[in-house]
Every structure is written in structure tokens, then in C-alpha cells.
């Protein structure tokens, strides 16, 4: 990787575990020996708002904020939020997206149409996209909410970090009774990417 700093943007809606996923990711990258900075704006998360987390890593990182147009990997936990983030991507960026729709209030009441074709629009904009059916896969662990870790399993395939570091970090950072379930979710996500 040399001196290059890699930029990962994680987007979702409050309650999806976007920030928890970015915490896990940051700890994995630290264990792998990188300098890591992360930033997110929270406070509105519990009120159904958009949640965005910036994770940057490399040999030395100064800023915790990704510059618009320079994201290397976008992890989208919700389709409309994935689509909304395209301005943040570098031209060759990779998109890892969950095909999950959470309708904002104005869409719920039929006032503004929800983009159910959001992931196709991402493809049409010319980005390489991997779609993960996060919740359906996560259900195999017995808990839909592990969809965020399923996505991390898929993300792991694209990062210069050994798989064992992910496993160790999950064991170290999660409450003991949740470790098994999350390791399973991680494995399932890992297998999603060929």
C-alpha cells in the first residue's frame, strides 16, 4: 500500500449498526498495524436519520474526514443512502451494498417516491457493485441484526488484512455471548464474495 491512505465510507440509517460496524473495522485495521482515523456525526441516529461513518487508514493518517470524490470503498447498509453517497466516490470506487430499503418518512406516507431501483442506478453510474442480501443471510445466524457484520465479512475480501485478525478482533471486542453469532455472520459474508 505504501504511503497511500485508503478511504472507506459506511452509510446507513439509525438502528442498522453502521457505527458498530465501523468500530469493528477500525479495531481490525489497528490490529493489522495501520494508523486509523474515523469520524461520524451522531446524535440523530436514534431518530431515523442518515448515519455516515468515515474510516481512513494507512501508514500515517492526519484527517479523519474523507474528501468528497475520494472514497475507495463504499459500504451501504441501506439502498437510498448508498445511492445518495455516489458523489463521495472516486471514479474507480467499489460499492458493497445491502439490498435493504428503509423508507424515510415522506416516502412512507406516499409523498415522495422511494428509489427501489437505487442499486441499479449505482450500476448505471458506472460503479462496480457487490450486492449482499444482508438480512436474509444474517437470519441464518438466528439474528437479523448481524447483517452489519455480514457486510464486514464481505468487505474483508477487499482489504489488505489477514482473515485471522478479523476473527481475533471479533472475539476481543464483542460481548462473549455474541461472539459465536458474529463470527458466523462474518463467515457467511466472507463467502458471499467469490
Amino acid at each position: 500500500m505504501g504511503d497511500k491512505v485508503l478511504n472507506i465510507l459506511l452509510v446507513g440509517v439509525g438502528g442498522q449498526g453502521t457505527i458498530l460496524a465501523s468500530e469493528l473495522l477500525a479495531h481490525v485495521l489497528i490490529e493489522a498495524g495501520f494508523d486509523v482515523k474515523k469520524s461520524e456525526v451522531h446524535g440523530m441516529a436514534q431518530r431515523g436519520g442518515r448515519v455516515v461513518s468515515h474510516v481512513r487508514f494507512g501508514k500515517k493518517v492526519y484527517s479523519s474526514l474523507i474528501v468528497k470524490g475520494e472514497t475507495d470503498i463504499l459500504v451501504g447498509f441501506e439502498m437510498a443512502e448508498t445511492l445518495r453517497s455516489l458523489d463521495w466516490l472516486s471514479p474507480g470506487a467499489r460499492v458493497l451494498a445491502e439490498n435493504k430499503a428503509i423508507l424515510p418518512y415522506t416516502s412512507l406516507v406516499g409523498q415522495s417516491p422511494y428509489p427501489f431501483d437505487a442499486l441499479n442506478r449505482v450500476r448505471d453510474a458506472g460503479f462496480e457493485i457487490t450486492v449482499v442480501d444482508g438480512e436474509a443471510i444474517a437470519e441464518k445466524t438466528g439474528e437479523k441484526k448481524t447483517a452489519n457484520v455480514v457486510l464486514m465479512g464481505a468487505l474483508a475480501r477487499y482489504l489488505p488484512v489477514d482473515r485471522s485478525i478479523w476473527v481475533e478482533t471479533i472475539k476481543k471486542n464483542m460481548p462473549e455471548k455474541l461472539v459465536k453469532m458474529n463470527l458466523e455472520a462474518f463467515e457467511l459474508g466472507w463467502k458471499e464474495v467469490p
Binding site: V41, G48, G69, L83, D87, L103, T106, V109
Partner: protein, 591 residues
Amino acid sequence: MTRLLLSGNEAIARGALQAGVSLATGYPGTPSTEILENLSRMGGTKTIWCPNEKVAVELASGVSFAGHRALVSMKHVGVNVAADPIFTLAYTGVRGGLVIITADDPELHSSQNEQDNRRYAVFARIPMLEPANSQEALEYTREAFELSERFDIPFFVRTTTRISHGKSLVEISEERNTVSTAEPGLVKDPSKYVMVPANARIKHRELEGRIEKIARYSEDCSFNSVEMKETGLGIITSGISYNYVKEAVPDASVLKLGLVFPLPTDLIRDFTSRCERVVIVEELEPCLEEWVRFLGIECEGKSLIPRFGEIDTGTVRRALIDVPQDQDPSGPESINTGEIPVRPPVMCIGCPHRGMFHILNRKKAFVAGDIGCYTLAVSPPLSAIHTTVCMGAGVSQAVGIEAVLPEEHGKVVAVIGDSTFLHSGMGGVLNMAYNEIPATVIILDNYTTAMTGRQDHPGSGFDADGNRTRQVDWEILLKGLGVEHIRLIDAYDLEGIQKVLEEEIHRDSPSVIVVQGACMLLKHKPIKIREPYRIDRDVCTNCGMCLRIGCPAISRKDGSPEENPIIDCTQCTGCDLCFQVCEFEAIGRED
């Protein structure tokens, strides 16, 4: 030595503990709140939520005068509330180290303005440190206590949202722990602590002497550093902006200022004399730029970097490097995504504020509002907030309106949350009663400071550590303020709300309505989730009334305008409001 990924707020808490702080206090406010929450969680010091920032600073000054170290944390606008004691504490100075954290919010992520509190340092003559990452947040906080005692003056530590909430690696070494040099106990020294004019006049002169001493210290202190590289471009910067400079122009020479008041003279003269072009990179106000210009040094700053909003590496790059527009990825939006609906935050499902705002909307009332979760009622479909300026303002705005528009009596109310009322609403109600102005104030009591993440307050019955404590009695309090007409009502009883509001809003004397219902997210007072409701498709006329209460559990299937409303029974808390507004009895429980 351990290495941890810490937010700036976590780091500040650890820095305070390393300085052996005896007491930490403040009032919740984004992005500062987690400092006290972490201190309470970690233990090792006494942690106290005060009803407002002025009380917190005054309390902390008492701790300092008693020879102990004290930390006060608040958001930027909290310093406005606390400004009165702060300005005169610069005169008295301290005994135990006194550190005030001001967490500013450029870009207004969660604030009503984006004032730059570096101005307060200059104005109040209180020195200010500004960390650029979590490591510095820890070290600067710890060192601020030492400096406060050494120079006999309170110290500010200023963060911004990206410092407070951003996370970076911190190396923690217990070897750097410090202790207060002050002797705990009572010290009677009127010339230092009693600011009557005769004493204060002398103290003001002394204060300028202390600032001069710190200015001399700033010339070669460890908080300010020079990184000489290419001399074509020399940048002067501080805080978060330093990081953007290092990434945007890695080859430029940089003067990084960690002590942002008082600023050095010789250090700046020396640095700028070695650089051909001098640019000041700072968010918001031109504080550094004005000082450099005052020294008679030619420089650029706000001509390149905006005076509003947050900046980032892209801002600095665009300001300093010629990037052709079509090759600038951080430029204006270029990707056609088609229409995407906005996603504003909304009140939670089952929120106790919803019912009152539904009624105020139906009544077409003019609502002088305040700051808290209920400010979300500004958005459709509730659309029932018409002013929001600062904490406590709504009460007196309603009183002011009633004073000059008697013909509009019966249409105006003030709404204010419980925590906000105890913060700065009491004076307004006292004034309303004293001057007998027939306004109606509605206190939305959800037993917590909800917006900032549910911190306790004098009305919640718990202290900062979660222990049971005395709880304000609204009736006694309001009666004591002189209010004769006090009504306590249930937040979920629409008929009751309507009836009481109708009576009080038209009353020709002052009145207060306290609407009670616990925040849905409260852990120690969990709301009973009742059986969910459903809509009977055969009875529903699709009138849309249930959608007007703005509950996110009620929707049209797939957002299609033609579909009848449905209730998501996995999310419904059974709060009852939709059942109460349905005129066709189409909403009921499974049975």
C-alpha cells in the same frame, strides 16, 4: 503504555483523570456530552450534571477556590450562558486548576449557530489550548490544569465536533500523571476573591500582566511547533485544520499553534520571515489571521478559506493548489443519481411529544419553541414550532408577543422541555407571573435530557451517576414562581390535552401546562410497550388522519400514494394516538 482508539471526548476525560481532577461538571450539549458521561463511567472523580452552564462554572470555581482541580464541559453556546462568571474569574484567578472545555460545532451538526469560541478567549482574557487529535486532547487537558495553577488563571480547551467525536489512536502513559500544587482548604483573601471595584481594578491590571507572561511562555512552549519544509508556502494553522493542511499541502512549511490565546509574536515573525507566501488556514473566524495582520505581516486567509461551515482537506487543496474544475472530484456534484427523498430525523415511535404537537397543529397555534427533541416538530406533518433561538427563549418570546398583541390572545403558546425549563426557563415564567402577562407555557416533561442522549437533571430523580436523588415537584416549583394556574396532564390523552389547552390558552392570566410522559428511550423508566394496533382495511376510509400525527410506524404500503395506511406491528408501541385520532374506528387491537 497502552494504545487505544479514543474519541476526543474520551481522551479529554482521561486527561482530566491524569491531572487528578477532583470534580467534573457541566450541562449536556452536543458535541461535549460524552466527556462527563465517560468520567462518570470511569470513576475516580466526582461527576455532577448542573442545571445549566453558569451554575456549572460557578460550582467549579468554588472547587478551585477550595484548592481542588475542577473541569467544566459545555458546548459552544453554553459558554454564552456561563460568560458572566467566566469573565470575572479571569480577574480572580484560581487556586486549584480550573479548566473549561468549549466544544464548538462548525457546520451546525446539532446547534443553532456556529460561533467560534476562540473569540471568547481574547474577549475574556482567558488562555486557550486547541488540540488537533485525540492524543493532544488528552495531553492538552492534563497540561491545562498545570498551566492554570502555574499562571493563576482558568484555562479553556477548545474542541470542534470533528475533534470531540472523531476517533484516533492515543498512547496512554500513567507516568505523566500530575497532581495539584494547591493546598485544599478555606482561604480568606478578599483582595483576590472579592471583586468589588477597588479590588477588581487592581486585578484587571494584574490579569494583563498574567496574559503577557503567558504570551512570553507561548514563544517556545511545546504546544506551538514549526515544521520547516519548502519555504515558498508557509501555513499558520491550529486544531483540526492542521490535519487538512498536512494532507492538502504536505510539502509546505507549517506553524502549528496549540496555544491559540495568547498568540506568540516572535515565533510568528520568525516563521513568516522565512516563507515567501503566508497563508492562515482556520475554520470559521479569522482569529489567527487578525493577529498576524496586527503584527504588520502580509498574509492571506479568509480571502481563500470560507468564514462559515466546516472545512476539510478538499477546501484547503482548492484554496492553495490550482485544480482544474473538471479534474476536481470534490467539486460540485457531477453524478446523476435521480431523485432521492430526504431523510430528516423524526420523533421516535411512541414519543410523548407527538400528541401535544398534533393538537397545536390542529389548533393552528403560534408556538414559541425551544431547544430539544421537540424542535423536530418544526417539520411536517406536525409543523408546530414557529421560533427557536436559544434555551429558554420561547417562554419569554410568548410573553413578549402576548404583551403587544392582545388581539391574538388565545393563539399563542410557548413549549419547552423539562431539562430546558430547569436550565433557563424558570426566569421567564417568574417574569410572566410577576408582570401578570396572560401567556401559556407548556412544559414537555419526559423525565430526561433526551436530545443529547438522555442525561439526568433535577426533574428526573437521578444524578449523573444514576443514583436516586431528589426530584423537582412541578406544582410547588411553579407555584413558588407565582403561577396560579398549573395543570399536569398525560402526554397520551388527546382529549385531555385539547380540553386543558383550550381552557388555559384563553385564560386572562398566566398559566403553565406540564405534559408528562417518559422518553421512549429511557432505560431506568422503561415505558410499558403495549399491544400494537392494526388498521381494519374494511373500515378504513383512507382519510389520512392517522398519517398526520407523523408516527413512523404508520405508512402506506411501499410508499404508494394509492395504498391505505398500515401499521408496522413490530414497531408499534401501542401508544394509542392513532386510535384516538381515527374518526371511523378503523384502528383497534387484534381480538
